[in-house]
Amino acid sequence: MSDEILSVDGLQVAYTSGRRTVEAVRGVDLSVPRGGIVALVGESGSGKSSVSQALVRRLPENGSITGGAIRFDGVDLTRVRERTLRRIRGGQIAFVPQDPNASLNPVMRIGEQIAEQIRLHAGMSRADAAKRAVEILGDVGIPHPEVRAAQYPHELSGGMKQRVLIGMAWSCDPRLVIADEPTSALDVTVQRRVLDQIEQLAETRGTAVLLVTHDLGVAKDRAQHVVVMQQGLVVDQGTTADVLGTPRTDYTRELVAAAPGLTTRRLEPTLEGDSPAEPVTHRPLLEVVGLRKTFAQGEDTFVAADDVSFVVPAGQTVALVGESGSGKTTTARMAARITQADGGLVLFRGKDITDLRGAGLREWRRSVQVVYQNPFGSLDPRMSVEALIAEPLRAFRIGSRPERARRVRDLLDSVRLPSTVAERLPAELSGGQRQRVAIARALALQPELLVLDEPVSALDVSVQTQILQVLVDLQAALGLGYLFITHDFGVVRQISDHVVVMRQGRVVEQGPAERMLTRPESDYARELIEAVPGAL
């Protein structure tokens, strides 16, 4: 018996679509020691998910293993029959999926779903399995397990569902658990509890875990070994301290530098020489006072935002932070006059614009522009990059056609995109490039304030930092004010001057970024900051 529960040698995976073959994994070697936690990290497209799926031969239909060996406890999984493999899956190798909301059968009670697996692999009777299912729910820290076992998935929160799935993964005492981005759909505080759960189960049961993640902070906190993948190849692997502590390859160094949880400072502008002509005075630009918004929810009313007040000074970044459901996006939408507030005031340069309408509102939009979270949704798929960026100019009849074309080139340049992308359609750009286009478009009218709604949360970490750097540089050059909505304290650290923490529609605490990040007064803000993976 070797010390390794899993060893992969020269694994190759290819996908075919039509006549094209894409090699997603090009010879990967990795091993997982018995009872150890190994993190497989990489950005989207690195092939890390393909590896995790190939391990139990669960690739999409057009994918296949084209070479290499996967030894699980001495057995080569690439060669065994499907029947044998079926017993191994779920029994000896278990899976924790990425999206808990899509991974439970919505019409089956929680308890039954766990019991089904136990009966299948351990051959327990129906009654025993049901009893065991309740115990498992208790083990993963779900309160009132007997009640929960009789409920349906929609009655549980995302974090609870992920615990149920973790409980299911461990229900048959597997020797290896593959967790593919188990927490990327969850809020940070929930993420921490879920990861604690995985770590504790791995320790008490002696289970090996292969943790697939894009988040270096998670890898650093939880794994003993780290394998870094890039473009289908392993670029570095070793103990966590070796790989992440003193990065040996350029790529790992870049990733570590980009990981928001691991950096400590605000990004500095990287402009050559020219600082703004006049010293920036931080007079208040946007001010919201006592904003309130309620939504009808059946018979009840749901208070999305209640008595929210803060100020965005010119030339500075205010980060509006909170977990899902905290009301941060609703607040930002009221501040940007996309949704009408039920109560409170929005002041811009001291002028009340809460009830501005029609032409006045349209004119005001020149000074305040919005960048959305999802760069795949906020750009009209039928328009070229040039038409997209020129649209606000056309809307306000600014410049002639050649003048607008020149301005588009300048704007592309300011977000560091080559002018060759002007002719392309959004579908031909990467996520990061699209978000740059969205920023360029927001800048076209030379606004004074940008409202940025989670502008980097859909992007890979290295791209995230590039975009944040662009924003910081633009702020220094143009004196822009930012209202920056995010759930990620790592990002807050990189960009903000002032932090507003929201929870359940209310402002919990606000203050200068430096103090908020080091000495938060409220327990909730402290909990949020400590939950960031990789934080000290």
Partner: protein
């Protein structure tokens, strides 16, 4: 897409539609004879080498008449789809755009009228229009088109409502683009595709409806050839000269099937 186009049924449909198009636009290429000239001695001849579809009671070549009849049938059907698509599309666009803003009531009232329009059988509606405006292929086209307008309005409205919820539409508004420009530049182009797919599907139905009404005798006046009228002419001789009804009828069936098949292929490829 390519693979789906290369399927035998699709290729066959494409071929049939192409032939139908040639019949309508350049009938002389396929049937150089005169569709109106009959040879009295050649009355009611069975299909043969000289007359592939046989001859009718006046000794006219049925094949030539079928080929030359394609124009009126297909043109009327196309016109019907255009009328229905443009009228229905406009109604749907306006209702979809107004709903939830200034015109929720307008939307409600107009869409109830549309419901009534859809509830009335299309053929009946077309007959009413023809009876009001007078016989002829163009009033048939108008009638059939009105019958289809309701469905077009519904599809267009649903699409407009869907696209209105897209983030890029909201983004355009926050950029300061005027509402009408947003409608024309973002909403309409992105809502069009399902409507176009439906138009292709409706074309098959329209060919059938136009032929049906002509068959009933409300269409072109003799002696000009038209598919429905040809089938109708042969009705009196069905016991003795089956080819007069069966062969033009078979042509109608083939073209309608082919058009519908192609529409499905296009519609799925969204």
């Amino acid at each position: 897409m390519i693979r789906r186009l290369l399927r035998p049924t699709t290729l066959l449909s494409l071929l049939i539609v192409l032939i139908a198009a040639v019949m309508a636009l350049a009938p002389g290429l396929l049937a150089p004879g005169d569709p109106l000239a009959g040879v009295t001695g050649d009355r009611l001849l069975a299909p043969g080498l000289a007359h592939p579809f046989g001859t009718d009671a006046l000794g006219r070549d049925v094949y030539t008449r079928t080929v030359h009849g394609a124009f009126l049938s297909l043109a009327a059907a196309t016109a019907a789809v255009l009328v229905g698509g443009i009228a229905g599309g406009a109604i749907g666009l306006v209702c979809g755009a107004l709903r939830g803003r200034v015109g929720t009531t307008v939307d409600f009232v107009v869409m109830r009228f549309v419901d009534v329009l859809i509830a009335v059988p299309g053929i009946l509606l077309a007959l009413i229009v023809v009876a009001t405006l007078g016989f002829g292929p163009w009033s048939i086209a108008l009638g059939v088109g009105l019958g289809a307008a309701g469905s077009f309005a519904r599809v267009m409205r649903a699409q407009v409502l869907r696209v209105r919820g897209e983030e890029y539409v909201e983004a355009a508004a926050t950029l300061g683009v005027r509402p009408l420009t947003v409608l024309g530049r973002h909403i309409l182009p992105n809502a069009m595709r399902p409507v176009l797919a439906m138009a292709a599907l409706e074309l098959g139905t329209a060919i059938l409806s136009v032929s049906t009404i002509s068959f009933l005798g409300f269409g072109v006046q003799p002696p000009s050839p038209e598919w429905g009228a040809l089938v109708s002419d042969g009705r009196d001789y069905i016991a003795t000269a089956w080819w007069l009804t069966v062969l033009p009828g078979a042509v109608i069936v083939c073209v309608v099937l082919a058009v519908t098949r192609l529409a499905r292929v296009i519609g799925v490829e969204r």
